[in-house]
């Protein structure tokens, strides 16, 4: 099972999530930034709520991978080792 300190460590990691997420910007005002990964993923998922397509697992996996890569890059973590 979990060892000691896991809870505090995971909470520390979680505390840094917002700033890391902010580095993967969505569309700001009307500017379309080149790296608007969050927006691309969001748009992909939201599109299923309006059109007839049903939301299935991994429907927007490409956009999510891009978002996750950006998120991990924000702190210099390696996408391969999945250190979030």
């Amino acid at each position: 099972m979990s060892g000691t300190g896991v809870w505090t460590r995971s909470r520390e990691t979680f505390r840094r999530f917002p700033e890391r997420f902010a580095q993967c910007p969505a569309e700001v005002r009307d500017q379309v930034l080149p790296d608007n990964t969050a927006s691309a993923y969001g748009k992909c998922v939201v599109a299923t709520t309006t059109n007839k397509q049903e939301l299935k697992k991994d429907l927007c996996v490409k956009e999510f991978e891009a978002l996750k890569a950006c998120f991990l890059k924000a702190v210099g973590g390696d996408a391969k080792t999945n250190t979030m």
Binding site: A26, V28, Y41, G42, V45, V46, L55, D58
Partner: protein
């Protein structure tokens, strides 16, 4: 048993030392054979004992420190085996009788697994779990006392909403088929949505946080609005009760002219210790909202702010509030309801569907406006007023929403909650939340629908519907309102 005679060095008297059968601390070599530590287990066939180690196999049993007698007894010390029926645990005490299953502190979700701690469980078919509950039928719990007789199911402090599960605490239950409930109600099926123990722990944790006052903004706001409604009633209340008061957010806005004495009731001692100062003399009571320890017809005013949405039996709680009120007393409450946090709920739902293929509820269920009116009416309140207030709070992202909810002590404690929220799903939900509901500057809103309710305990002085046939004006006269009537001068 073989005995060994040994000469004592000093006095030369004979000393008889019984030698144990079986190896000490070693597990026996064949299946269904036994190992033991410290105590002899040599009676009865089919007794298997392992010290501290667990076996997942059927018929393997563990005990520590005590002899286990009788056939079919399985005991574990602190470890649970849950995949075989008939695995039982016991700690410290002898378990006698056949078919006794005991697990110390750990629960198994399987039928036929029983737990007890500290006491002997006698009789067949006794299932006891110490402090932990299993939602399955046939699982029973007790703590501290012997349960005698067959078919007794007891749960210490925890409730199972399932039929056939019974609770008691501290007392021996004798006789077959006795189901006793202590402290917790297993009154109606399906009325156990929230884990109240967990909610107590969450409130305690939130109150102990370093910057816990930072999360009080919502409660303070709602408390001030409830206090507004108290001022709207032009009366002085000699004795008032605040149910689920938290840090007493309402009383800080009230004055001695409106409320003369106040009783604060909450389940969290730490919150009461950190209560806000107010000029009204107060008394604090540690009480659960579902089990108010006050006599009937005591209070002129009962207040409640943002705590009733974690109650399992809301109709029962309303009835109790109505009972403790004096006739012509009033209940003013604010509860979170309606479409609260719908943005968070939808984002998590979509994110989990896309990332994991399915979703589970992360937001607790709320009462709708219409239901609230019905509930109050059923509880016996008169002259109801229910209105809805929408408070929207903006946050930088979904992570702040979740952190603040946790800091407020509003973490989910429903039984059906999933204990894990994957990081991928969190990241996905953050993106979806921003995309669906985000403001142009990147911040996201979270909506809290607060339902305010006012209900009066019936009294003769209150206005009643008029009797049939007592009208003095006709409805057709309504059309004449606004017309100038020409007076005929005689």
């Amino acid at each position: 048993m073989n005995t060994v005679v040994r000469k004592s060095l000093k006095s030369g008297t004979r000393v008889l030392i019984p030698r144990r059968t079986g190896s000490d601390r070693q597990v026996s070599w064949r299946a269904g054979i036994n190992a033991f530590d410290r105590q002899v287990s040599s009676w009865g066939a089919g007794m298997n004992v392992i010290d501290r180690q667990m076996s997942g196999r059927a018929g393997m049993n563990v005990f520590d420190r005590q002899v286990s007698r009788g056939a079919g007894l399985n005991v574990f010390d602190r470890q649970v085996s849950s995949w075989e029926a008939g695995m039982n645990v016991l700690d410290r005490q002898v378990s006698r009788g056949a078919g006794l299953n005991v697990i110390d502190r750990q629960m198994s979700g399987r039928a036929g697994m029983n737990v007890f701690d500290r006491q002997v469980s006698r009789g067949a078919g006794l299932n006891v779990i110490d402090r932990q509950m299993s939602g399955r039928a046939g699982m029973n719990v007790f703590d501290r006392q012997v349960s005698r007789g067959a078919g007794l199911n007891v749960i210490d402090r925890q409730m199972s909403g399932r039929a056939g599960m019974n609770v008691f605490d501290r007392q021996v239950s004798r006789g077959a088929g006795l189901n006793v409930i202590d402290r917790q109600m297993s009154g109606r099926a399906g009325m156990n949505v929230f884990d109240r123990q967990m909610k107590r722990k969450q409130r305690k944790w939130a109150a102990a946080l370093q910057g816990s006052h930072n999360y009080d903004y919502l409660r303070d706001e709602v408390g001030s609005r409830v206090a507004d409604r108290v001022y709207d009633i032009a009366r002085t209340f000699p004795l008032a009760l605040d149910v689920g008061c938290g840090k007493s957010h309402i009383a800080q806005h009230l004055t001695k002219e409106v409320v003369e004495r106040l009783v604060l009731a909450d389940t969290s001692e730490d919150s009461l210790n950190q209560r806000r100062g107010c000029e009204i003399p107060t008394r604090c009571v540690l009480a659960d909202e579902e089990f108010l320890p006050f006599p009937e017809n005591t209070f002129d005013l009962v207040l409640s702010s943002m705590s009733l949405h974690w109650i399992n039996d809301l109709p029962g709680a309303f009835k109790q509030i109505q009972a403790v009120l004096k006739p012509d007393g009033v209940f003013i409450g604010a509860v979170v309801g309606g479409e609260t946090l719908y943005q968070l709920r939808c984002s998590l739902q979509l994110a989990e569907t896309e990332r994991e293929g399915g979703f589970s509820p992360h937001i607790s269920p709320y009462t709708a406006v219409s239901d609230l009116g019905n509930l109050l009416g059923q509880a016996g309140f008169n002259m109801l007023t229910v209105d809805l207030d929408e408070i929207q709070v903006d946050y930088p992202s979904i992570f702040e929403v979740m952190t603040d909810l946790q800091g407020m002590g509003e973490s989910n404690c429903a039984w059906n909650r999933k204990s894990v929220l994957h990081r991928d799903s969190m990241l996905a939900a953050a993106a979806i939340y921003r995309e669906m509901y985000g403001h142009p500057d990147g911040s996201v809103p979270a909506t809290f629908d607060i339902l305010y309710m006012i209900g009066w305990k019936p009294h003769e002085s209150q206005a009643k519907p008029a009797k049939r046939g007592s009208a003095t004006v006709s409805f057709s006269d309504l059309s004449k309102v606004g017309h100038t009537v020409a007076k005929e001068t005689p």
